[in-house]
């Protein structure tokens, strides 16, 4: 047994056939890969063996010989429709389980904002620390990346984690993973984005939590704290004139709004996540909070992606502020995350 594992290790180090497993998803995806490969090799081998055997066994004996007609059999046809159908449904189901897990982000995440632009990546840690083509994360923690693009579509892909997500201009996409092994892992842009697409990559560094904390505090984050920057912007852009904290303004108070449910004018309810807040800044009229007039001007084209991040960070920080009895955008009952 140990020898087998050693052999596998040697093969893997010399001519690898799968990348390193360094996240919670990696073993799941690899198991899925093995399962589907097994079924497919079985069918491919079956068809190949049948063809080769028939090819030699029934080779034409005399130039004018004809084959023996075989009556078709509906039961046989049904069999080879139903068996592949069952097996493919198994593949579908298992794949769906992994995917749904991947798309449903857990609650206790460490959030890192990632911006893609031709042809570099910027990552911003929760304390505002910015990195270029690098991203440091602690091992064992659920990490959520909030992805946005300043120009074309990019894609953040970490083979060792077996995850990727497109970075689409005008959208916030999120992806998550839990690193399981400290180390440095390649990440790539895997959506073709123009001339230097192939150079648009970097390294994810997975660190022990204590090392990560030391690294975070050791680097001078200073006044780059996004909450501070966002608060400043909130005043500069005159957001605070209408979004008054105590709920007496012309627009809803933003206290406690992040992660809560918001009742809209059309009666529907949305969760105030990053994508909703971003949309409300850029296209204020897309979703109007119930009881309010569409007064807010658009900030499309007036804020950089980083400024939007800062505003969202500030609004997130208001989560703990007291929610006024009237004038809040939150739908009753407040369903906080």
């Amino acid at each position: 047994m140990a020898r087998n594992e050693e052999l596998a290790k040697t093969v893997q180090s010399q001519l690898p056939i799968y990348p390193e497993q360094a996240s919670n998803f990696a073993p799941q995806v690899d198991a899925l890969m093995l399962f589907i490969t097994g079924i497919c090799v079985f069918f491919a081998a079956g068809v190949t063996v049948a063809i080769v055997v028939f090819f030699f066994k029934y080779r034409r004996k005399t130039p004018d010989a004809v084959g023996i007609t075989i009556e078709e059999d509906a039961r046989l046809e049904a069999l080879w429709m139903i068996v592949p159908l069952i097996l493919s449904m198994a593949m579908f189901g298992w794949g769906a389980v992994v995917y749904v897990d991947y798309r449903n982000v857990p609650r206790d995440t460490l959030d890192i904002y990632v911006i893609g632009k031709q042809w570099m990546w910027k990552a911003q840690q929760p304390n505002g620390l910015k990195e270029i083509n690098e991203c440091h994360v602690p091992v064992g923690r659920n990490i959520r990346l909030i992805l946005s693009s300043e120009d074309v579509i990019h894609d953040f892909f970490v083979p060792a984690f077996r995850v990727k997500m497109d970075v689409v201009p005008g959208h916030y996409n999120t992806m998550w993973f839990r690193p399981t092994k400290p180390g440095r892992y390649h990440f790539f842009c895997s959506q073709y984005c123009g001339t230097n697409h192939a150079l648009m990559g970097g390294w994810v560094t997975v660190m022990e939590p204590s090392d990560y904390a030391a690294w975070l505090s050791g680097s001078a984050a200073g006044n780059a704290n996004p909450v501070v920057a966002g608060e400043k912007l909130f005043a500069e852009k005159a957001c605070s004139t209408c979004h008054v904290a105590n709920g007496t303004g012309r627009s809803p108070s933003l206290n406690g709004v992040y992660g809560a449910q918001v009742l809209l004018a059309d009666g529907s309810i949305v969760v105030a996540d990053e994508a909703y807040i971003r949309e409300s800044i850029l296209q204020p009229n897309a979703k109007i909070v119930a009881g309010y007039q569409p007064l807010m001007p658009t900030f499309q084209g007036q804020l950089t992606e980083e400024q939007i991040f800062a505003l969202i960070a500030y609004i997130k920080s208001l989560q703990s502020q007291p929610v006024p009895a009237t004038g809040a955008g939150i739908a009753p009952p407040t369903g906080k995350r």
Binding site: V29, F54, A65, V66, F92, G194
Partner: protein, 558 residues
Amino acid sequence: MSTPPTPVRELPHKHYLNATYGAGLRSWLLTTDHKRIALLYLASVTVFFFIGGVLATMIRIHLLTPGGALVTPETYNKLFTMHGVAMIFFFLIPSIPAVFGNFLIPLMIGAKDLAFPKINLLSWYIYVIGGCFVLYSFGTGGLDTGWTFYTPLSSVYSNSAVTPAVLGIFINGFSSILTGLNFIVTIHTMRAPGMTWFRLPLFVWAHYATSLVMILGTPVVAITLLLAGLERMFHLGFFNPALGGDPILFQHLFWFYSHPAVYIMILPAMGVISEIIPTFARKPIFGYAFIAGSSIAIAVIGFLVWAHHMFVTGESTYAALTFSFLSYLVAIPSAVKVFNWTSTLYKGSISWDPPMIYALGFIGLFVIGGLTGLFLACLGLDIHIHDTYFVVAHFHYIMVGGAVMGYVGGLHFWWPKITGRLYPRALSRFAAVVLFIGFNLTFFPQFILGYLGMPRRYHTYPPEFQVLNVLSTAGASILALGYLLPMSYLTWSMRYGRVAGQNPWPATGLEWKTDSPPLTENFEVTPVVTWEPYDFKNRPDLGLATGTPLPAPALGDD
């Protein structure tokens, strides 16, 4: 190989190639004969295949070293974009339908021509005009958007000649639509007496299904690319978020056609294989109705799977689940075809003639291509292998391993009918084996590269990927030889090949009951069909050992 002393045959005195409608070139450029138009297409798709092939060769040479051995990043991006555009829109999509479909559908159903001969010629001219626009784009700055033209890269950020290319593909779309329309009307209205729907060759069924996709899907991609062009030229905001558009909308519209387009490429090839297998196994195809029905099923379900190209765009989880489920469904009719082809070989009288070698190569490659589709349809796995070399390998197995192998196999099968002459047997079997080996060596390593995480469309890559890239490039050089061989001996045979006669294999279709090459009018008198498809037993005209006492009479009863 020297020929044994057989009676020297001669070509018929009068046939479509030597019939004169006027002088020389004019008789070709103004022809409305479906067979001559097919040859016009054959010549023009070969030009694009050659362009695409040269570009592919340059790509593979460039990727020999991690840093990129040949060209700058800009040029590399143009190479793979132009390779894709030339191969997909101007070779693969028209290849089998416009060449063999045009040539054979009227012959197979016992008609004198297609329903609209002038429209048929028009569609070739539209193809040529579209092609010229695209070549103009290639020549003046090239194209670097990827063949998928994803916005806003194509509509805003690219500095290459996007507009003429998009217009060229828009124009070319009409050629496809007209051809599809022509086929559908012809198959409905011009079948010879006795040629019922269930006596149609499976090649015709496959083309019927393909034509449905052509006329329903092509308008969508034409409009989509036109919108991208309008956004680029006049800054109308359809897809650019800065103008209020949505780039994801482009992908929905684009793949609504471009996924079914894969079936435009593979269904006709499946049709070719369904002709070759019973002919060279010399027995009726197993499960005729299931193979015919599966073509229609693929065409219909194929329209409902497009968003499986978008599992990692952030589309809703429910959409992803739906499209993954439907993608698994579309695998079933393909599996049905493979099982039926394999069963047809059972107790056959199998000859090792060149078309059969190509057909078996097709099955081998198509099986790998089809099965690896199951990996990509799997949601959990796709988040890792999406947009990697795994995808590149998968679709080349389908489109080159499948569609091109079917095309070359079809060329070998019907070449005697088209030209009236045979080609060197041993050399052509050797070429089929070279193609098969070269293809696998080129593309199989790419599955592993993809799983290891090498993204597609990279002009440079980390050094750990080099070994597999070198293998792939080595395979590509063998593959190139595999294509040059048939090109040369088929050309040689047009003049020097042995005369084939009406039905050299022999095969059961109506196209083999007329001269090789056929008359301009196809048949002296309209044939009447009294036999079932692929029936070798009740066809004394084929000169075979009908009713040969063979064992197992209970099963052999017809």
